[in-house]
């Protein structure tokens, strides 16, 4: 799949330009954090990469793909988990069956990932009655079960309390350790520091910086990034 190349990517909704000519090359390996203020275009950029939105102009190229189904090798976790009205287990099985796995295969795999995210004891419970943090862990399990090469995460902890956030972050690290490329958005600098290896800093629809995490926080190259870092609240 990787590297992922964005070539002069633009996206407009009506007359409003949301992404303005972003070019970047995202390599396999490091955890990539797309950072920026609210409204910068982070979520839209991620949806363009994942193929949920079609760019107004420019291209999203997966260099490593063997002309196959690129969608099948990526998964996405959304800010607000969308759970189907069925059991936690069935939610994971649903994704696996769409990916062409048999029922028995799917159930085995689903139980495995539920175990890993700590939801095995809730497997039979309806997904929608789980807490917000549990639902987000379930969403991660559903994505992880597919064994994606790339996992997109859109502000995965924006609605969660600190304890749940910690759970989610350690699961993200486990997924990274299993060899899946992590690409996530956040507006939270602490999270960027904890989870990021490299930063794509987006401001007003433009890619302002694409640097390793250390350099970004020590000596930001742009005024926008410097301001964004300086304005961080304790």
């Amino acid at each position: 799949m990787l590297p992922l190349e964005l070539d002069q990517l633009t996206f407009s909704a009506g007359n409003a330009a949301i992404i303005r000519g972003i070019s970047a090359r995202i390599e396999a390996g490091p955890r990539t954090v797309i950072l920026g203020p609210n409204g910068a275009g982070k979520s839209v950029l991620m949806r363009l990469c994942h193929g949920l939105l079609t760019p107004t102009s420019g291209r999203v190229v997966w260099h490593g793909s063997k002309n196959g189904d690129v969608r099948r090798h990526q998964a996405m976790v959304f800010q607000r988990p969308v759970m189907l009205r069925r059991s936690a287990l069935a939610n994971v099985v649903y994704g696996l069956k769409l990916a062409g796995k048999s029922r028995s295969q799917s159930e085995l795999r689903a139980m495995d990932v539920l175990e890993v995210v700590g939801l095995a004891q809730h497997a039979a419970r309806p997904a929608r009655v789980l807490s917000g943090g549990e639902q987000q862990r379930l969403a991660l399990a559903r994505a992880w079960a597919l064994g994606p090469d790339v996992l997109f995460l859109d502000e995965p902890t924006a609605n969660l309390d600190p304890a749940s956030t910690q759970d989610i972050e350690s699961i993200i690290n486990a997924i990274h350790a299993s060899g899946t490329k992590i690409i996530m958005t956040t507006h939270n600098l602490g999270q960027a520091r904890r989870l990021g290896d490299e930063i794509l800093f987006i401001s007003n629809g433009r890619l302002v910086e694409h640097t390793p995490i250390d350099r970004f926080f020590k000596q930001p190259a742009s005024a926008e990034a410097a301001t964004f870092i300086k304005d961080e609240m304790p």
Partner: protein, 234 residues
């Protein structure tokens, strides 16, 4: 038989004693309206789901039309179905005018738009919530539509019950295409109309009580199902 109280007392005796004529009329009513609601659901539900998830030219017009058809006057439906089924009409050779079959057709025509329009609304609302998640998991349109129908099944069941209530309580259409023939096409509503004009208030009132009870039971059932589903599946 002038006072209301006497009429009520006589009506109650008919109901409590399982009066043969009353039972026959109630039975036919249920049979016709249940058949109509089954047919209307088989047509209206897939139609509503299709309009909810597909994008095609004229879609908005179709939705407006469908919503307008919810208020279709039963007598007009009766008249049109009558014209189609009458000896000189295009379907006259079937010879089904003034039979329960004709009544089923008329009621199905009456409530199909109701079921289609309301299920379109419910499924489209769910689609808005699920759209990105289902596409991310790789669901194709048909697959997504089935998922949405399954996930909104309790709300959809409420619609079906509402359709049944509307069919059972309707008088104009069945009167015209059924002819209110004693023992053949006489249903609760047409019997009430006739008996009232004949002055046989106990039978009319007895049927009226059964009809109103039926409508209340249906609505209670719908409420209970929704409540249960909400508690069970969130």
């Amino acid at each position: 038989m002038n006072s209301l109280g006497e009429a009520f007392a006589a009506a109650w005796k008919l109901i409590a004693g399982f009066d043969a004529e009353l039972a026959q009329v109630v039975g036919l009513s249920l049979q016709v309206s249940l058949s109509a609601v089954v047919i209307a659901t088989l047509i209206g539900l897939p139609l509503g789901a299709m309009i909810a998830v597909e994008r095609f030219p004229g879609r908005q017009t179709l939705i407006v039309l469908l919503n307008a058809l919810m208020g279709l006057p039963p007598v007009v439906v009766g008249l049109v179905v009558y014209l189609l089924l009458s000896r000189a009409g295009p379907l006259g050779s079937l010879g089904i005018l003034f039979t329960p079959t004709a009544m089923v057709i008329a009621q199905a025509v009456l409530i199909t738009p109701i079921i289609a329009a309301l299920s379109r609304q419910i499924i489209e609302d769910a689609w808005r919530e699920y759209d990105e998640q289902l596409r991310s998991l790789g669901a194709q349109r048909l697959n997504a539509a089935m998922t949405l129908i399954w996930d909104t099944r309790f709300s959809l069941l409420t619609i079906v019950l509402a359709g049944f209530g509307r069919a059972a309580a309707e008088v104009g259409a069945v009167m015209i295409v059924g002819g209110n023939i004693d023992g053949v096409t006489r249903v609760m509503t047409t019997a009430i109309a006739l008996e009232t004009s004949k002055g046989d208030l106990p039978l009319a009132l007895g049927l009226g009580i059964v009809l109103v009870t039926l409508v209340i039971v249906l609505n209670a059932l719908a409420a209970i199902i929704r409540e249960m589903a909400l508690r069970r599946y969130g």
